[in-house]
Symmetry: C2
Subunit: 293 residues, 2 copies
């Protein structure tokens, strides 16, 4: 059995007339007659009653017609759906992002732009750190992610540069007697510092310490946090100072104030990273949003 048989069957059934159906199908009448006979032979049943003049659907044919129309409609929908998935119009896109980067700027803007351009794609957002994202992207658990990239990318991953963020000094509010004014690193000698674990972002960690050293500061690290949020909680608790992403200004924790650091020029390179063989068509769409921003 082939779709041809079913197409011819539906045409004949709807016209109740072989010749009319054959014209609609743009084939000769004998061809249609034969295909209908073949279909009947294969099913082993009569789909049409042969009247002295003309034909008419049998009971079985009526049932078959109802079912087959639904089947053909479903087939059409299936093709349509596959094409829309392939164009990235429907489906699912799993994107990771560093939480602070999602508070303002290109990351949330891109999410909005994507939602407008592909409203039927389920956008699954996973806020998590850079190393986590890279692992998940490589494992195929994420289609892409917004990260701060210091280390070179693993092979297979491609990146889109989106700009750079800076760093700020975070201090407990009650330590900040003087009004908001930039500080210098060597003013901070002897202060107690909170850092993140080195093995979380080794390259960034080393970059930070090197920059401090160049400005004559070897920070006295009294505690380490799992991530920046944890570090800021410790600052909020009055444990010490910390150097953090400047995006934290958009959602300052309680009991914490931020100061620019005059002599520390560290840039956090925000990138969108994805597997080079972009397997998810919706990803193309997101890349387009990023490039046309």
């Amino acid at each position: 059995m082939e779709l041809r048989h079913l197409r011819y069957f539906l045409a004949v059934a709807s016209h109740q007339n072989v010749r009319a159906a054959s014209e609609e199908l743009h084939v000769s009448q004998p061809a249609v007659s034969r295909q209908i006979q073949d279909l009947e032979d294969e099913l082993g049943i009569q789909l049409f009653e042969r009247l002295p003049r003309g034909i008419r659907l049998s009971r079985a044919g009526e049932a078959f017609r109802e079912d087959i129309s639904r089947v053909m409609a479903a087939l059409g929908v299936a093709c349509e759906r596959a094409q829309r998935v392939s164009r990235g119009e429907i489906g699912e896109l799993r994107i990771g992002y560093v939480e602070v980067a999602g508070w303002e700027g290109i990351v949330p803007d891109t999410f909005h732009a994507f939602r407008e351009s592909a409203p039927e794609v389920r956008l699954e957002l996973t806020p998590t750190g850079t190393p986590d994202q890279l692992a998940m992207i490589r494992a195929g658990m994420l289609d892409g992610g917004f990260i701060y990239q210091f280390d070179p990318l693993p092979p297979n991953l491609a990146a889109l540069h989106l700009g750079e963020h800076g760093v700020l000094l975070a201090m407990p509010s009650r330590w900040a007697q003087r009004p908001d004014r930039p500080v210098k690193l060597n003013d901070l000698t002897g202060e107690r510092f909170i850092f993140f674990h080195r093995n979380a972002y080794p390259a960034y960690y080393d970059l930070l310490l090197t920059a401090c050293a160049l400005s004559g500061l070897v920070p006295h690290i009294v505690q380490e946090g799992q991530n920046e949020a944890a570090v800021l909680s410790l600052v909020s608790a009055g444990i010490g100072l910390a150097i953090v992403n400047d995006r934290n200004r958009y959602r300052p924790p309680a009991q914490v104030e931020f100061r620019e650091i005059e002599d520390l020029n560290i840039r956090l390179p925000l990138r969108f990273v994805y597997r080079h063989e972009r397997t998810n068509p919706a990803l193309q769409n997101m890349l387009a949003c990023l490039e046309n921003r």
Copy 2:
């Protein structure tokens, strides 16, 4: 697009391997490769990603696979259903019957037998008179009916003889002083009679009057009822006597007694009638039940 494309696609998708699929399909590997390519060309999308070694479903391919498996399953069900309809195992059978004939004997027995042999056929029963049934059968509103046949059948209708029923005298209880004993027609001269309308069953009506005349009775008809139930209601009300189907003994109305009529030998020929081109396969099943009784 033909079913071949879809069958090959599903095979390749489930094996994630062209050669394995080609073996399952009993065709050569190049044939499968080509059909997959043709399908992709026709849909205008990539269903598979070509890896350096082997292939893998693309996102669109995954969506297509899910949909197409359902489509193919539905197609199988459709064929199955059409075949079962054609064998009369499922579907609908609309049968008429004269109510009194349905109270006992072959008519209800056949209904039970049919229900056992084709439990999934919806049996739609319509209790109504012989002329009504014949009209509905000819109009295609009924597939067949149990009738009492006096007039010759219209063309296109076939009949199965099922036996004969007799007639009884029905009288109001308070008129029946003597115990149940057969009566003779000429004992009833001068009695008031209730008949049915002649145009309802002309042949039966005439047969009845002729038989009465032969026994020396010209019944004094005081009222006519639409059908036998109406006639019996009038008897029950004490309006007069009536000659009715002997099946009424199985559900005697209140205030009515029945007597056999010694010198009236009228036989009511019970027949199953259907259109000669038995268009409903379930009807075959019912005919089989009637013939194997």
